[in-house]
Amino acid sequence: MQFFLEVLIGGLLSGVMYSLVALGFVLIFKASGVFNFAQGAMVLFAALTFVSLEERGLPRWGALLASLAIMLGLALVIERVVLRPLVNQPAISLLMATIGLTFCLEGLAQGVWGSVVKGLDLGIPDVPFDVKGVLVSQFDLFAAAIAGFLVAVLALFFQYTRVGRALRAVADDHQAALSLGIPLQTVWAVVWAAAGAVALVAGLLWGSRLGVQFALSVITLKALPVLILGGFTSIAGAIVGGLLVGASEKLAEVYLGPVLGGGIENWFPYVLALLFLLVRPEGLFGEKHIDRV
């Protein structure tokens, strides 16, 4: 039982890290219906920027603020250069644009900062500590707390500010929002900025766990099953989906691993997502899509 709890908690906590990546997708998808293929590249770019700035002698907080500023600036540039010319184009064009953006960002990040794997030490000791006999990773707890905080801030922002209201309006009905005079450009810039900030946080946490390297941009793939489980349009869904993926893949690894062979966590989430697609394609929290004919 104790062992089961340990695996479960470990899984849930690492699931939070998936949620964090998924969150970036949800923000942008909600507001613009665009699946931002470049979210992973943004994560890599953010982490690489932070480490490299620190390497060049900036103090930690300085590097953090500078990276944040760079991510916000990047969001504004993306809105202006990539999104604005594509207003009213079909979603597939926008998707293609974000695929192009992925290569640009990956190239830019490695061109400017180099492609050597860099270590990132946030200074959080990764020693497990003991809660009533169950061992819990301190780093995971820290990451979960950060993610929880981030989600709370975003939720409050969207629920209680005028920008948030405008954003929900745009997400709900593009055409109506435009006809009310809501500036689509500003809303998109805000959303990409938020997604950039989320990418920075995700990049720091994942980077300090895996090292800052090209593979960071691939963890994006793990966000896909999370999104399929949670729904593409729900912040709560991203969280729950992440927890589900994290917990189930760890449990599967531990309990099914000996039977099916190891490495289950690499594919289990995708199978889970596939099964889920058959049962509830809109995800746990997504909006059911009914087409009127």
Partner: protein, 275 residues
């Protein structure tokens, strides 16, 4: 009918020679008409006549392939919906286009956006002034909620409201911007008799009390004859008549458009009726 003609003022909206096509379909062909200040102008015509397209051009959703629009003395070939909104044009949609997940209050507050002065970004950063401005606008919105008698559902997500009430909320959202010109695309479609009567009353009240100029698309001829100061008739993208409800009702082309191609006998009957 019941509304003295002299209530209207200067020309507020002038549509001249506007054409629009979708691929091969000519949705509008050289349509011109005017709406004067405080006028309640109905646009009628069979399905597919181009009524919605015309409204969409007036508030910048579609760009005309030819022709110009002048609103409040400013003439342009086209504008964006945002420019239209900031300039004082508000609208409702044929298929309700509310923000389904948001409460009635939030929906109407969103309609107030064009009236808010500080930019969205400034609002995101300055809590104090932003909140003060929000409160001022909130007051106005609460008055509208009273006016349209939807107090009891203020906090309800609009997706859960019955159809008739949703239409009313959409009207409220459009009014929140205190528009000079209000475009209503079939505000009474799909309503029962009682709901229709309520909606008619609200539209008249808006016109009377706020002096709002209204372009109204409506199918129910009784309603149109009752409400409108003037009626514009479209058929296959062309304007076939324009005048008081009385004039339009007697117009042979209008009768033809509504009843099919008239025979010679029809024409004689009309001529007799008119004479």
């Amino acid at each position: 009918m019941g509304h003295p003609r002299q209530k209207v003022g200067e020309v507020l909206l002038e549509v001249s020679g506007v054409s629009l096509s979708f691929g091969g379909v000519k949705a509008l062909h050289q349509v011109s008409f005017q709406a004067r200040e405080r006028e309640l102008c109905a646009i009628i015509g069979p399905n597919g006549a181009g009524k919605s397209s015309l409204l969409n051009i007036v508030n910048g959703v579609y760009q005309p392939s030819a022709g110009t629009i002048s609103f409040a003395g400013v003439q342009r070939k086209s504008m964006s919906p945002r420019e239209a909104a900031l300039g004082g044009i508000a609208r409702t949609f044929q298929n309700i286009a509310l923000f389904k997940g948001m409460s009635v209050l939030d929906n109407i507050m969103t309609g107030r956006d064009a009236k808010m002065h500080s930019s969205l970004l400034a609002q995101a950063l300055y809590w104090g002034p932003a909140q003060r401005e929000e409160m001022e606008h909130r007051c106005h919105v609460e008055k509208l909620i009273d006016f349209l008698q939807i107090e009891h559902v203020r906090k309800t997500p609009v997706g859960r409201l019955p159809y008739g009430l949703q239409k009313r909320v959409e009207l409220a959202r459009a009014l929140a911007a205190e528009p000079r010109l209000l475009l209503l695309d079939e505000p009474m479609a799909g309503m029962n008799v009682e709901e229709k009567q309520d909606m008619c009353r609200f539209i008249l009240d808006v016109n009377d009390e706020f002096g709002t100029t209204i372009l109204l698309i409506e199918h129910d001829m009784a309603v149109v004859m009752d409400l409108a100061d003037r009626v514009v008739v479209l058929d296959y993208g062309r304007k076939i008549a324009d005048g008081t409800p009385e004039e339009v009702r007697r117009n042979p082309e209008v009768i033809a458009a509504y009843l099919g191609v008239p025979t010679e006998a029809d024409r004689e009957a009309v001529a007799e009726g008119a004479g």
